[in-house]
């Protein structure tokens, strides 16, 4: 017979033996970075259609028409990855860093947290912030916070991150940080610049708020952030199999139904920038079989009628037939390869932010300089390798339809359109935020055309946000969702706080 205590011991086997229940910060960071990037890529399939980076191969697509698919988690991956793949893992990372004086991990963790909230609020507006991660098993309603509160929290987290990243005491160690950091391989300075960059992004989002907006702050944040392309935040995937490859890689097959938009083709083939052939076009976009660059118009799809010859049809970002699984070992191009890299924040992006801020402030000289640096920076991006010759680069930069001779000639359109090009294929949330700030205006986004007919639930309005993840909120957090109007069928067209004056 077993004695009582030995019986107790015999039964003490309910701790999961397959994985640890406590790990150090270094082991938590890499998955969070991966899933943030994968989350953007996943939802980019939907946002990319809203912002006309690309369109769906078939006609009448709901997302092309600024709609959504009811009862579906589509458009909820960032939601999933911030709350779950980040979530408590990130909280534990921060706690471990704080408790063990790993100030570098603390800084990176706080910056990642701020970045997570920024992505989430960019996509969805009101989010669960103050009630997130409450571990009370009986708590079932998780209330939403206003975007105003979220923005304040992002700034607070960035500032705390910068403070932590300034520290060199405790257990700060480049070697240790490099263990978990797949973005910057442990370079604290770059993380500090990243935090400043995020401050610039979040501050510039409020440009429509005349009372709250301070362009000088934006400019100074940009000046404290990335100094060159070498600072770009990029995630390079192993790309060896389906689990560690870029979501945009041919091995994942996710982009096969998407064709580049007519809008991006117009921006690069000299239609909008009159006659200026963009040297980046052959590196970023895909020509049809006959060598001509074509794009899809939202909602129209690619006709497969016999009257449209196969070699004049738009192809997918890997150059393959639309909606056809790529053959194994398809290489892909630009960021559409198995390894990426996938940009998360770039020097060019921040220079365009600076240019816009200076332009809005009225300092056109600063705006022009930053605008030029932005284009230069993108043209020399390592994403293009040696694909753009110095001569092509010079020709483009000296073309006055691209870069005007004088600061006075610089237009907001040029800044926003060049920014759009530089962010095409990765900067979905930033691009979408810009478009929403300018009400998708073709006055700013020359030749941008909203869909002719919106999705049936839109009640004639363009999209403003993704609906919260269906299986998280529409089924299990209805009370909280109802308070922000989330159950309205046109909730996705409800404007966000940041775009309002």
């Amino acid at each position: 017979m077993l004695t009582f205590s030995s019986c107790e011991k015999y039964l003490d086997i309910n701790k999961n033996p397959n994985n640890p229940d406590q790990v150090e910060a270094a082991l938590l960071l890499a998955p969070i970075q991966n899933f943030y990037a994968l989350g953007i890529q996943f939802d980019a399939r939907y946002i990319g259609r809203y912002v006309q980076n690309w369109q769906w191969f078939g006609a009448g697509d709901a997302w092309d028409l600024h709609g959504y698919v009811p009862n579906s988690d589509a458009g909820g991956e960032i939601w999933r990855n911030v709350y779950w793949k980040g979530g408590l893992n990130l909280e534990n990372l921060i706690a471990d860093a704080r408790a063990n004086e790993k100030w570098d991990y603390l800084g990176v963790g706080l910056a990642m947290k701020a970045w997570g909230w920024q992505m989430l609020t960019d996509a969805h507006g009101e989010i669960i912030l103050s009630e997130a991660y409450d571990s009370d098993p009986n708590k079932n309603t998780f209330n939403y916070d206003t975007q105003e509160k979220v923005y304040a929290e992002i700034v607070r987290l960035c500032n705390e991150a910068i403070q932590a990243l300034n520290r060199t005491d405790g257990r700060v160690s480049q070697v240790q940080l490099a263990r978990g950091d797949v973005i910057y391989k442990g370079d604290r300075l770059k993380w500090k610049r990243f935090a400043y960059g995020l401050l610039a992004v979040t501050t510039q989002r409020l440009a429509s708020k005349k009372s709250a907006y301070d362009p000088n702050k934006v400019i100074s944040y940009v000046d404290s952030s990335f100094t060159s392309n070498a600072d770009d935040a990029m995630l390079t995937f192993n790309g060896l199999n389906t689990t560690d490859a870029s979501f945009f890689g041919p091995i994942r097959g996710n982009l096969q139904p998407y064709g580049q938009s007519a809008f991006i083709v117009r921006l690069m083939d000299g239609t909008v920038f009159e006659g200026a052939k963009d040297p980046r076009m052959p590196l970023m976009l895909q020509p049809s079989g006959d060598g001509t660059y074509r794009g899809l118009t939202p909602g129209s799809g690619q006709s497969t009628a016999a009257s449209v010859p196969t070699n004049t049809r738009v192809v997918n970002p890997w150059g393959g037939t639309l909606n056809v699984t790529p053959a194994a070992n398809t290489p892909g191009k630009y960021i559409f390869t198995n390894t990426g890299p996938f940009p998360l924040m770039t020097h060019a992006q921040l220079q365009f932010i600076k240019a816009e801020a200076a332009f809005l402030k009225g300092d056109k000289a600063t705006a022009l300089a930053a605008y030029r640096r932005g284009i230069e920076s993108h043209l020399t991006s390592p994403l293009f390798g040696t694909g753009i010759s110095a001569a092509d680069r010079t020709a483009y930069l000296t073309n006055e339809t691209i870069i005007p001779k004088t600061a006075a000639e610089l237009t907001l359109n040029q800044i926003m359109l060049q920014k759009y090009i530089a962010e095409w294929g990765w900067g979905f949330l930033d691009t979408w935020s810009d478009l929403r700030r300018y009400n998708y205006s073709s006055d700013v986004y020359t030749s941008f055309q909203l869909p002719q007919n919106y999705f049936q639930n839109n009640n004639g309005k363009p999209v403003q946000r993704l609906r919260p993840r269906y299986n998280s909120e529409y089924v299990w957090n209805i009370d909280a969702l109802n308070k922000i109007g989330g159950l309205d069928i046109d909730f996705h067209t409800k404007p966000l706080w940041f775009t309002q004056p």
Binding site: L2, L11, T325
Partner: protein, 1028 residues
């Protein structure tokens, strides 16, 4: 009667204070009680010294031991036999042969802990099925033979593929998300009936490659058993019956007793049969309109909304040609024999079966050695040892499966040419992404499991004195199965990563230990039996799995043939332990009134320390009221009458590792850890199931007509709800929580009759009737709905339950309606709008099910058949919805007819007094969006009835005079058995009895959802039985 009851009560109270003790006796008489019919030992026979209170029962080997003196009379009795009185003479050994009373069914049943009890003592429903009856159906999986034979038992087969898993549910669903399948017990000890989960595979870690228990299926492990090794199966239906087995048996228990051989002349029996099987019903397709959309020819799509086929189009019978005639054979060889002290049985069985789908097969080899021994006067033992080897090849099911592909393949193309003769590569018929050619799927992809299993079981009984015996049993269930899922590099499932191979090896070790003391004592007319014991169950399940992609050689099947850079592996260990103490007391007053009280305390490793220990009791009462009737006249009509009642509670365990959180390894770039889906719950406590049952057993006309009726009601509280979805704001996606309440109740009737009994001709019939009801009373956190995500297989209908509804409902999205209930129509398209709420749209629970079993014997010829009836209950015909949306359903043939969908426009006026009626005309031929706009619930077929011939057997026994002349054979017979030969149903699809998921899915599972499933095949067997 009143006096008797009072006396009985007094004795009952006194017995609590009376210590069991023996009295000084003259000498010990021993002996063996055997059956006159076949010489087998009779355990549980009563031996009483006439005129005294002394009595005992025979043990498992039929042996008794009692104190008596010369001249005293021993009364030996056993239910169903004629009692014998024997005067003790000079011999110390008194063997007794009991002769059966005419036409009495065997009334001893095996109950919990392997204890044989007279059925009259039991205060709850049990049903016993003879192993021979199941073996006779010639099914690989003996569970499938149980359908219709036992009231209250429902078997749902996953599909008609060889080796498909089967789900068994006894008396409805007690747990909305957890396992509802009963415990399987062999010779007193539990064994594993796991169906491998797709979570065992590395592929499951990535949603892009996961199988979600839908597209793959593996056998349920109880199917490993050889039906020919089964002596009998007792179904313990409720927690009353199973209270002594503990948490595992909250859903009832299937108690299997194996054959152990009989004493007497040694016998060799050989049984062999050959099988052919044919595919069951398949859906019918339209062949008027060809490929395309909106009336426009598009040869690269697999929609059939194009123009009419030109006249003289050549069509291929792709579906008919695809299937083959399945074949199989079985061989069983058994040796048995023994002496009074020893019996043994050695059997070997080999069966092989090729299914109706090319490449599928199920092979099984069973070797079994069993025996009993009486080691001394006091010590006896019985043991079994089984070795099982299985090899099963299946193909995919559900979405993207061969079946849907076969239906969808262009009828204008000869599907059988799946390889391009020039290149040897997969032949494609379009330039685009195309569905997988089913021939390619079954020939080039593979789904296989190969298992080895050893079941060992040893029991020891020590008869310490004539009133006390000690029993101990130890068992071991050790198996290892290798699973393989291979997708060819050119298969749709793996072409973007150059092929994939997932393999897993599981290792199960279940060790069980049980020991108890049994004390018997008799006080006048009151007999008591008391048992006190303990048990220990130790489960250890380990899986090692790996996955590789990018095949080097496209055909070679091995992980070594994949690119090393893509290889990933995973290890999973699951441990669970349970320690228990239990006891029960039975009071038997004058063989007329029986009261049994049980109590059990379990300590389970799956709960936090504070909630680890839990106690639950049960009480049951059986009253043979016909014993009180002295009037022989009444007894001629009502020969036996019993009423019974019981009340019980039982706990249910939590899944392992649910109380604390562990990280999971992340396969993304740079590696690392992150939390899994489910939030930990450090406050989990056992789920409580309480049950009440009342019933009666009546036998009329000297047992020629019998009725067994039961009503039960089960209430389940503090449900352990697994995979409850929550706001991701928690940091998790799912949680495990106690909460929610449900009940289910039901009526079971079992009627048996022997309408004809003459010397040459007999007819026996049994009718089993089952009706169940259930209700979800509450869900935790005021949640409105709970659904099983694995059952959400096609479009928006799933196994979802809502508060105040039954547990077997389907939820889905209905049309949007205005305040007057009129359907809302889109003013743009003229098509109906669908809402996004999940309402109950159907209930899969049948009104009742019935099994009718008949046996006719005429001289040497016998005929038996089992009919299975079902009345009512909805089935979601997702296959038909799929065909409808692809333009293949015959329901789409009127597509050229213009129509206006009746409803009102959603134009802002819909809720006013004068909504705008829809007048927008749609011609589906030009607008096949029509077919996707119709609500899914139109494809729930209501009140599906069926009558199936589950099995039929004709058997001819060669006459004895012929056999005696051969001097070799003792018995020989020839037989034909057919299974699932026909079904009459109002269901329009294939087989309404299949299951959209595998048996591993909890709650009410995926039955009643038909999506891309192979119907049960029609099977014909011919065979011969020989006994030497």
């Amino acid at each position: 009667m009143k006096d008797q009851l009072l006396k009985w009560l007094l004795l009952f109270v006194l017995s609590g204070f009376t210590a069991f003790h023996t009295r000084a006796q003259d000498r010990t008489i021993t002996g063996k009680v055997t059956s006159a019919e076949d010489g087998s030992a009779i355990p549980g026979a009563s031996v009483v010294v006439k005129g005294t209170a002394r009595g005992t029962n025979t043990d498992a080997t039929g042996t008794y031991r009692i104190q008596a003196s010369t001249g005293q009379t021993l009364t030996v009795s056993f239910i169903g036999t004629q009692s014998q009185n024997i005067t003790v003479g000079n011999s110390d050994v008194v063997n007794v042969i009991l002769r059966q009373e005419a036409s009495t069914l065997n009334e001893v049943v095996v109950t919990a802990l392997g204890v044989k009890k007279e059925k009259r003592q039991l205060g709850y429903a049990v049903t016993e099925v003879a192993g021979q009856d199941l073996a006779q159906t010639q099914r690989d999986n003996f569970l499938n033979g149980l359908q219709g034979r036992v009231a209250g038992v429902n078997i749902a087969t996953t599909s008609g593929q060889p080796g498909a898993s089967s789900q068994i549910i006894i008396r409805g669903v007690n747990s909305i998300s957890g396992n509802n399948q009963p415990l399987f017990v062999i010779d007193g000890l539990p064994i594993d009936n796991r169906t491998a989960q797709s979570a065992n595979f590395v592929a499951e870690r990535n949603s892009a490659t996961s199988f979600a228990n839908r597209t793959v299926d593996f056998s349920n492990r109880a199917a490993d058993l050889n039906p020919n090794d089964i002596e009998s199966i007792t179904i313990l239906k409720g927690p009353e019956a199973a209270a002594l087995y503990g948490v595992e048996a909250a859903n009832g228990a299937v108690v299997i007793t194996t054959r152990k051989g009989r004493s007497g002349t040694g016998r060799i029996s050989y049984n062999s049969n050959f099988t052919v099987e044919q595919v069951g019903r398949l859906p019918e397709l339209q062949r008027v309109y060809g490929q395309g959309n909106n009336g426009v020819l598009q040869s690269n799509v697999f929609n059939y909304f194009g123009p009419r086929y030109p006249e003289n189009t050549t069509f291929y019978e792709n579906a008919e040609n695809f299937f083959q005639t399945g074949t199989g054979q079985r061989h069983n060889l058994a040796f048995e024999g023994g002496t009074e002290r020893y019996t043994y049985r050695l059997s070997g069985s080999y069966s092989t079966r090729q299914g109706v789908i090319p490449t599928t097969k199920y092979d099984r080899f069973n070797l079994s050695l069993a025996g009993t021994a009486k080691l001394s006067d006091k010590l006896s033992t019985e043991s079994t040892l089984q070795y099982i080897n299985t090899d099963n090849i299946k193909v995919s099911k559900g979405a993207n499966s061969f079946l849907l592909g076969m239906l969808q393949w262009p009828a204008t193309d000869n599907m059988s040419g799946y390889l391009d003769p020039a290149t040897g590569l997969r032949r494609r018929v379009t330039a685009g992404n195309e569905i997988e050619n089913p021939y390619f799927d079954v020939n080039k992809n593979q789904l296989r499991d190969v298992g080895n299993r050893i079941l060992a079981n040893i029991g020891l009984t020590y008869d310490a004195t004539n009133w006390l015996s000690l029993t101990g049993r130890a068992g071991m269930d050790v198996y290892s199965t290798q699973y393989l899922i291979k997708y060819h590099p050119q298969s749709n499932r793996a072409q973007s990563f150059g092929g994939s191979l997932d393999q897993a090896t599981d290792n199960n070790r279940t060790i069980t230990l049980q020991y108890f003391a049994t004390a018997r004592q008799k006080f006048g007319k009151l007999s008591t039996t008391m048992r006190l014991g303990g048990a220990l169950y130790d489960y250890n399940y380990k899986v090692l799995s790996s996955r590789g992609e990018k095949f080097l050689d496209p055909e070679f099947v091995s992980i070594n043939n994949t690119d090393p850079l893509t290889q990933r592996s995973l290890s999973r260990l699951e441990q669970r332990r349970l320690v228990a103490a239990f006891g029960d007391v039975t009071f038997d007053y004058n063989n007329t009134l029986f009261l049994t009280v049980t109590g059990r305390n379990d300590w389970s490793s799956t709960f936090p320390k504070a909630n680890r220990s839990f106690f639950y009791p049960s009480a049951s009462l059986s009253f043979i009221f016909t014993e009180l009737a002295g009037d022989a006249g009444l007894r001629d009509v009502l020969s036996y009458g019993k009423i019974r009642a019981s009340l019980a509670e039982v706990g249910k365990e939590a899944p392992p590792y649910a109380t604390s959180q562990a990280y999971e390894n992340q396969p993304t770039t740079g590696g690392g850890f992150g939390y899994g889906f489910t939030a930990p719950n450090p406050f989990l406590k056992p789920e409580k199931v309480t049950s009440f049952e009342i019933g009666t057993e009546l036998k009329f006309f000297n047992n020629r007509l019998g009725l067994d009726a039961a009503y039960y009601r089960t209430r389940s509280r503090d449900q352990i709800i697994r995979d409850l979805r929550i706001s991701y704001g928690t940091g998790f996606i799912l949680k495990v929580i106690n909460g929610g309440e449900l009940w289910n109740n039901g009526v079971e009737l079992s009627l048996n009759a022997e309408p004809i009994r003459t010397n040459n001709f007999t007819w026996n019939t049994i009718l089993n009737f089952t009706k169940t009801n259930s209700r979800l009373v509450s869900l935790p956190n005021n949640l409105p709905e709970f659904y099983m995500s694995d059952t959400w297989v096609y479009s928006n209908i799933r196994n979802g339950v809502r508060v105040d509804g039954p547990l077997t409902t389907l939820t889905g999205n209905s049309y949007q309606r205005n305040s007057q209930g009129q359907i809302l129509i889109s003013p743009i398209t003229g098509l109906p709008l669908t809402e996004t709420n999940w309402n109950v749209v159907g209930d899969r629970n049948p009104d009742f099910v019935m099994g009718l079993n008949n046996q006719f014997n005429y001289k040497n010829l016998s005929l038996s058949f089992l009919l299975d009836f079902r009345k009512g209950g909805d089935v979601y015909n997702a296959t038909e919805l799929f065909l409808f949306r692809q333009g293949l359903s015959k329901r789409t043939l009127d597509r050229e007819t213009p129509r206006v969908f009746q409803g009102v426009l959603k134009d802002g006026l819909e809720n006013t007094a004068s909504p705008t009626a829809n007048t927008i005309q749609v011609i589906p031929y030009y607008n096949n969006a029509y077919y996707t706009s119709l609500a899914d619930e139109n494809f729930i077929e209501r009140d599906v009835n069926w009558m199936r011939l589950k099995d039929v057997t004709i058997r001819y026994a060669l006459p004895n005079n012929l056999l005696t002349r051969t001097k070799v054979f003792k018995a020989a017979n020839l037989y034909f058995t057919g299974t699932d030969l026909f079904m009459i149903t109002n269901y329009s699809g294939g087989d309404p009895g299949v299951n959209a998921t595998t048996a591993t899915v909890g709650g009410s599972g995926g039955f009643g959802i038909d999506y891309g499933n192979l119907p049960l095949p029609r099977t014909y067997n011919v065979g011969i039985n020989l006994t030497l």
